[in-house]
C-alpha cells in the first residue's frame, strides 16, 4: 500500500476512533455540524455524480492576477493528494490535527474541538494548491511592492475536501481575493465542501485577504483557515459570507511572534439559512494586536452564530485585543447568537469586547426616507454603509477598497440578502 493510501486510511481510523464533534461541544453547540458521513461522502445519494460543469484548471482552484502584479514572484503548485510525494509536499510543514481532549494547552484543545473536520479532510482530500508568494526561496526579504492575486474556487465534485496552503515570505505585501461562489457557473447541484487553508506569514509580511463565500442554498460548507504570523507580520481578513443548509467559516489565527497584528472582519448574510463564523485568536507573544469585528444580518428562519474567542497567553505583555460583534435581524424571526470571549492570562494588556443586538437605526432610516428614498432602498443603503465601514476598518486602505470595487460587491450582496426569497433561489 502506498503512503498516500495509508494516510487516508489512518485519517478515517482516527475519525472512527475519536468520533465526530459532540452536539454538546461548546464551540459548536449553537449550530452543530452534520455528521462525519456527510463530509466523507458516505451518506447515500451524496457521493455519486460529479459536477456537470466545465472542468476547471487545477484542483478546483484558479489563480488570476489583478492589475499588473509581477507574477514571477508567485510560485503556484497544484498537487495531487493521491500521489504519495505530492501529498507529502502539500502537507509539508503542517502539523497533524490533534484529538479533542488530548492537547496540552487551551489553543491546542480548541483546535482539537474541530479536529474531526481535519481528519475528515485528510481522508477525502484529492487535490490542493500550494502558493509561495514573493521573492525566491532563501531570500531574506522580498520586495515591498504588493502582489495582487485573485484565487477562485469552483467545486468539482459533489463531496470534496479542497486544500490551500499559502506562504507569504518575509517582508512581502500581498493582496488576495479568494472567492467561492456558485452563481456564475453551470453546476448548481448541492455540494459538500470541507476546505482546509493554511496561511503562513513571514516576519514583516502583510496579507490583506478578502474572502467571499456565497454557497448554494442546499450546500454544506465548512471552511477552516489556519494562520500563523511571524514577527511584525500583519494579517487582515475580511469575510463576506451568505448562509446555506450548513455553512461554517472558522479562523484560527496564531500571533506567536512579537509585533504581529491580526484583524478579522465578518459580514454574515443569512436569509432562511444557517451560517456560523468562528474566530479564534491566540496572542502568544508581547506587543501583539488583534481585532475581531462581525456584522451578522439574519432574516426569516435563519440561524446565524458568531463565536469569537481571543486568548492572551502568559507573557503576552502589551497585547491589545478588541472584539465587536453586531447582530441585526432584517426580517422574520431569525436566531442570532453572538458570543464574544476573552481569555486573559497576563496583566498588562488592553482588552475590549462588545456584542450588540438590535435593529437598524430608526432615525437614520427616517432621515433617508425624508430625503426621498423608499424604505427598501434606505434600508439597503444603511446596511451597505455598515458593511462598508466594517471592511474599511479591517483593511484601513481606501485604495484597496476602490481597486477591488468593494462598494459594488457589498451593494450586490446586501441587495441579495434583503430581497425576500433570493437566497433560496440560487444553488
Amino acid at each position: 500500500m502506498d503512503t498516500a493510501r495509508a494516510d487516508i486510511l489512518a485519517a478515517r481510523h482516527q475519525l472512527q476512533t475519536r468520533g465526530w464533534i459532540s452536539r454538546k461541544a461548546e464551540a459548536f453547540r449553537h449550530l452543530p455540524p452534520p455528521d462525519a458521513a456527510v463530509w466523507l461522502g458516505d451518506e447515500s445519494g451524496r457521493a455519486a455524480p460529479g459536477c456537470e460543469a466545465h472542468p476547471l484548471t487545477g484542483a478546483g482552484w484558479t489563480l488570476h492576477p489583478i492589475g499588473h502584479s509581477p507574477q514571477g514572484r508567485v510560485d503556484a503548485r497544484w498537487l495531487d493528494a493521491s500521489d504519495a510525494l505530492q501529498r507529502a509536499e502539500l502537507w509539508a510543514g503542517l502539523s497533524a490535527p490533534l484529538g479533542a481532549g488530548i492537547a496540552d494547552n487551551a489553543d491546542d484543545r480548541a483546535e482539537g474541538d474541530a479536529a474531526p473536520f481535519s481528519w475528515a479532510h485528510r481522508a477525502l482530500c484529492r487535490h490542493g494548491l500550494r502558493l509561495r508568494i514573493g521573492g525566491t526561496p532563501g531570500a531574506e526579504r522580498g520586495p515591498r511592492e504588493p502582489v495582487w492575486l485573485q484565487l477562485r474556487h469552483q467545486p468539482r465534485r459533489a463531496v470534496e475536501a479542497p486544500m490551500l496552503v499559502i506562504e507569504v515570505l518575509a517582508g512581502v505585501h500581498c493582496v488576495l481575493v479568494e472567492t467561492h461562489d456558485r452563481q456564475s457557473v453551470a453546476c448548481q447541484q448541492p455540494v459538500v465542501q470541507n476546505l482546509q487553508a493554511h496561511i503562513v506569514l513571514g516576519d514583516g509580511a502583510t496579507l490583506q485577504h478578502l474572502r467571499i463565500a456565497t454557497p448554494g442554498a442546499a450546500d454544506h460548507i465548512a471552511h477552516h483557515v489556519h494562520a500563523r504570523l511571524g514577527r511584525d507580520a500583519h494579517y487582515a481578513q475580511a469575510l463576506v459570507a451568505s448562509g446555506s443548509s450548513y455553512h461554517l467559516q472558522r479562523n484560527v489565527i496564531a500571533l506567536q511572534a512579537e509585533g504581529a497584528v491580526a484583524r478579522s472582519a465578518g459580514l454574515l448574510l443569512a436569509a432562511d439559512s444557517a451560517l456560523e463564523h468562528q474566530v479564534r485568536l491566540s496572542h502568544g507573544a508581547a506587543g501583539t494586536t488583534s481585532t475581531i469585528e462581525d456584522l451578522a444580518l439574519a432574516s426569516g428562519s435563519a440561524r446565524a452564530v458568531v463565536n469569537a474567542h481571543t486568548r492572551i497567553a502568559p507573557g503576552a505583555a502589551q497585547a491589545d485585543v478588541r472584539q465587536r460583534l453586531t447582530g441585526i435581524p432584517t426580517g422574520g424571526q431569525p436566531k442570532l447568537v453572538l458570543r464574544p470571549h476573552l481569555e486573559i492570562h497576563h496583566d498588562q494588556v488592553q482588552a475590549i469586547h462588545s456584542a450588540t443586538w438590535g435593529a437598524l437605526s430608526e432615525e437614520a432610516l427616517f432621515y433617508a426616507r425624508q430625503r426621498g428614498l423608499d424604505e427598501r432602498t434606505a434600508r439597503g443603503l444603511i446596511v451597505q454603509g455598515m458593511a462598508s465601514a466594517l471592511l474599511q476598518r479591517c483593511f484601513a486602505d481606501d485604495t484597496l477598497l476602490d481597486t477591488l470595487d468593494i462598494d459594488a460587491l457589498l451593494r450586490a450582496a446586501v441587495a441579495r440578502h434583503l430581497a425576500p426569497g433570493q437566497e433560496a433561489e440560487h444553488g
Partner: protein, 256 residues
C-alpha cells in the same frame, strides 16, 4: 391644488408623542413661495410640527388635517412627502456610517427627480453641482466623500442639511433651527440660500430664535406657537417684540 389654495394648509392638527399631547390645535397656511417664521418657547411643539409634517412614525396624528400641494399630506409615506416637494431639515441630523455623503445625496436627488419626471443625474454631473453648492455654503469638498454626518461638527451637519436643500430644490422647506451651531458665515449662507430658492419659488417655514436671521429673511409672517397652539400671528415686528419681552407674553405685551 387650485390657484387660491395655499401650498400647505394645516387645520386643527393634534399630535401625540407617547401618551402626551404636544400639538393641541395647530392651523396655518403657507402660500407657494412664501416665507413664514415659527417662534416659540422650548417645548412649545415647533420641532413636533416639522417632524409630523415629515411623517415621523413617533409622532401620532390624532386629529386635524394637512394638505400639501393639493394632496392629503398625512396619508403619504415619508418618502412620498419628500418626493412631492417637502423638505424638513433636522435639528440633529443623524449619522449614517459607511454611506458616502455624495452617494446618499445623489440617491435621494435621483429619487426626487424621478418623481418629478426628470432624468437621473449621473455621478459626474451630480458631483459638479454638489461641489459648486458645497463651495457656496462653505462646506469643505472633502465632506462629500465622507460618510453622512459621521464625525461632522454641529455646524458642518447644518451646512450639510443646507447642501441637500440646495440640491433637492423642494417646494416647501421646513428649517428647524438651521442656524444653531452655525458661525456668522454660516448664518449668512443660510440667508443667501433661502433668498436664492425663494426666487425660484420655494416656500419656507423657518423655526428660529435668532432675531438677526429672522430680520434678514424678511418673512411674510411670524407665528408664535405656545403650548401646542398658534397663539399669535404678525409681521417681523412680532419677532422683535418677542425678542424684547420673551415668550412669556403679558396682556400688556399682547395689547389687550
Amino acid at each position: 391644488m387650485t390657484p387660491s389654495e395655499p401650498l400647505l394648509q394645516v387645520r386643527d392638527l393634534r399630535v401625540d408623542v407617547g401618551e402626551r399631547r404636544i400639538l393641541k390645535s395647530v392651523s396655518l397656511d403657507v402660500p407657494a413661495g412664501a416665507l413664514l417664521v415659527l417662534m416659540g418657547a422650548n417645548g412649545s411643539g415647533k420641532s413636533t410640527l416639522g417632524l409630523t409634517l415629515a411623517g415621523h412614525p413617533r409622532y401620532r396624528v390624532v386629529g386635524g388635517s394637512a394638505r400639501f400641494a393639493g394632496q392629503d399630506l398625512l396619508a403619504l409615506s415619508p418618502e412620498a412627502r419628500a418626493r412631492a416637494g417637502l423638505f424638513v431639515s433636522f435639528q440633529a441630523p443623524p449619522e449614517i456610517p459607511g454611506v458616502k455623503n455624495n452617494l446618499f445625496i445623489r440617491t435621494a436627488l435621483n429619487a426626487v427627480r424621478e418623481a418629478r419626471g426628470e432624468a437621473p443625474l449621473d455621478a459626474f454631473d451630480f458631483l459638479g453641482d454638489a461641489r459648486a453648492a458645497a463651495a457656496r455654503l462653505g462646506l469643505p469638498e472633502a465632506m462629500l466623500g465622507r460618510p453622512v454626518n459621521d464625525g461632522f461638527s454641529g455646524g458642518e451637519r447644518k451646512r450639510n442639511e443646507l447642501l441637500q436643500l440646495a440640491l433637492l430644490r423642494p417646494r416647501l422647506a421646513v428649517l428647524d433651527e438651521v442656524d444653531s451651531g452655525m458661525d456668522v458665515d454660516g448664518v449668512r449662507a443660510v440667508v443667501q440660500l433661502v433668498q436664492e430658492l425663494r426666487a425660484q419659488g420655494t416656500a419656507f417655514l423657518v423655526v428660529s430664535h435668532y432675531q438677526q436671521l429672522i430680520e434678514s429673511l424678511m418673512p411674510d409672517a411670524v407665528l408664535r406657537l405656545d403650548q401646542g397652539c398658534i397663539a399669535e400671528t404678525g409681521g417681523v415686528g412680532l419677532a422683535s417684540d418677542i425678542g424684547r419681552t420673551g415668550f412669556v407674553r403679558t396682556a400688556e405685551a399682547l395689547g389687550v
